[in-house]
């Protein structure tokens, strides 16, 4: 029901009252109210012009001041309400003001954006009459929309990181090697990263250097590193993901030297090398290192899928057909991918550390992980291609494109984390640790 309807109902009731009571006064009152309504209706003819000023580059979640210039082109005094028509997730204040005839006013209010690139439409201006009975909405056409870029807010990310929201690699690193038991295994020299509370002070004073206690781990059994050496991992001239992945594998192998650790290397066409988990110690680490002879693909592309060139479109049927015949053309034995072959080489029980790209064959990876997690404990380490991108090659378009991929990837990571513990890694993760332990030398 509208406010005007209340008055019209009153008019009707007064008409009825006047007729039933044979009284002219309610009829006169009703007519007076009706004329008053006619006066308001006919007198309300607003015309509004508005223009918004807002910065084109905003930060995610940070309130930004927007300035709106509103001009009343009519002869009426109006009450103006600013109604923002923002993309989903944005928040805005709802300012209101009064405008005299032909008056121009500037109103400032705040908008809280969320990250991404958006086309921001002009706000809807609602002009109301002073009695609050009528209104008219004014909105400029879509040609007035402006493009804004909302960047991730570094301060916010920092706060979230400090709050411990993201999964930290250090935590996973510790959990990877099992929970320590109070049972002492051995004494060794202190190395950067060791906990200070594990320093054996008696041995330290006796030997004159920092000595730490190593404890026995709860977890026993084979550990397998399953390394993806596929096309997606090998793309790139420098900073390729496979370089990082091999370094990481070596580091993991060294860290797992007290366990029976094995290595499986696979690519798009099958399993390349297998080093079964037979022994433990440095000798096994060296054997595994020997298996890591993987070169990078000297391509212009970095380790992420490039957008399809404009104009080339492959139909869904053609795509399916190519997918079926490609393995046969490239000499693969069957339709099964390298990953499926790799997991068929695994023993019945083991702790699995997958180092893989998740942008290629994501659905297959998810299916396999869902199946494997029933029998194995799994950790998935995935080099983030965005972090491996060559900075010198960045421009605005690439940055936007990378950002879109980054958002998609975040979703995939979230999904994978629901299946197995998944860590997103950059080129500097663990490198310092490896260097400090002398593994690279």
């Amino acid at each position: 029901m509208k406010r005007e309807d209340i008055l019209l109902t009153l008019v009707l009731l007064l008409f009825v009252q006047g007729y039933l009571f044979r009284n002219v006064l309610p009829i006169l009152l009703a007519s007076a109210i009706l004329i008053y309504l006619i006066y308001l209706r006919a007198g309300f003819s607003p015309r509004i012009e508005s223009e918004r000023e807002i910065s084109r580059k905003l930060k995610d979640g940070e309130r930004v001041k927007t300035k709106l210039r509103v001009k009343n082109l009519s002869n009426n005094r109006l009450k103006i309400e600013v109604l923002e028509n923002l993309p989903a997730g944005f928040k805005a204040e709802r300012p209101s003001l009064f405008l005299d005839a032909h008056e121009v006013k500037e109103v400032e209010y705040f908008i809280t954006p969320m990250r991404g690139i958006f086309r921001l439409k002009e706000p809807m201006i609602r002009a109301k009459d002073l009695r609050g009975l009528y209104y008219e909405d004014f909105m400029r056409g879509s040609e007035s929309a402006i493009e804004i870029e909302v960047y991730p807010n570094l301060d916010r990310i920092r706060e979230e990181t400090e709050a411990g929201e993201p999964l930290r690699f250090k935590e996973a690193y510790q959990s990877l090697f099992g929970l320590q038991t109070p049972e002492l295994d051995s004494l060794r020299e202190f190395q950067p990263g060791d906990e200070r509370r594990h320093i054996d002070w008696k041995a330290t004073t006796r030997l004159g250097e920092l000595i730490v206690r190593d404890f026995l781990k709860e977890r026993e059994g084979d550990a397998y590193i399953v390394l993806d050496a596929g096309k997606e991992m090998r793309k790139g001239i420098k900073n390729s993901k496979i370089d990082f992945a091999t370094t990481l594998t070596l580091q993991l192998a060294y860290a797992l030297r007290n366990y029976r650790a094995g290595l499986i290397v696979y690519d798009d066409y099958g399993v390349k090398r297998v080093e079964a988990a037979r022994t433990r110690g440095i000798e096994q680490v060296e054997k595994m290192a020997a298996q890591l002879k993987i070169g990078s693909i000297p391509a212009n592309l970095m380790g992420i899928k490039s957008p399809m060139p404009v104009g080339i479109k492959i139909k869904e049927e053609s795509r399916k057909f190519i997918k079926k015949i490609l393995p046969a053309i490239k000499g693969r034995r069957s339709y099964a991918t390298g990953l499926i072959e790799a997991i068929s080489s695994l023993p019945s029980t083991a702790f699995l550390i997958f180092i893989s790209d998740i942008t290629a064959n994501t659905s297959e990876l998810i299916k396999i992980l869902l199946e494997l997690r029933k029998r194995y404990k799994i950790l998935l380490l995935t080099p983030n291609p965005i972090l491996f991108y060559d900075e010198a090659r960045l421009d605005r378009e690439k940055l936007i494109w990378l950002y879109e991929r980054y958002k998609e990837r975040e979703e995939v990571i979230k999904k994978l984390n629901g299946i197995v513990r998944t860590l997103d890694l950059g080129p500097s993760d663990l490198l310092e640790t490896i260097r400090s332990r002398g593994v690279l030398e």
Binding site: L25, I27, I38
Partner: protein, 218 residues
Amino acid sequence: MIALISFKPLWVFRGQAVIAAAIGGLIAGLKLPLLLLLPMFVLGIRNNKDLFLLLFSVYALAIGYELEVSNLYELDLVKVLSVLIPTLLLLDAGLKSESEEETRGFTHAHELLIASGVTIAFVIGWFVSVVFVAAVFGALIYELSGDKARRGVFAALISSSLLLAALVLGQGLLNLEGGGATQAIFIAAVSTIIALMFFWRKRDRTEFKLYIRSGFIL
């Protein structure tokens, strides 16, 4: 003087409207509707237009119940106008929005003078009804003039002229003994036809949302 300056003009206007309605009601000998004036004033101050509209409807119906005019052509014009015009003034005051400027107090001396003059005229009008009607009519015109709604004024003038013309022309048929019902039907019909002339144009209309302070109840 300083105390008066601190008054908010719209509050004064609403206060004047209530005083006018009270004096007009007393001139016409009303009792029951006057009881509703205080809550209407409070709702006006709180800017609760929807509840005000409901209460105003009750007030208008109560006036029609208490004050009787059986023949349009033999009515006491001053008495009727002393009720009708303050009622319209009250409706306008209750619906009018309060802007930031209006909450700051009087900015011009002439506004204060007019406000004081109108209030004094109302009081004098208690004794001289014609003065009261003139003062209330002046106050209504003054308030509406702020809208600068030329089209509205034009439409209102046309409507009232047409209604008056119809009543004058129909006097021969309507001015009969016990013709109150016929007059009522005639005025209602003419008013409705006139209104339809101006109501054909579609307008976005504000929603009626009845609420009390804690939340909506309708």
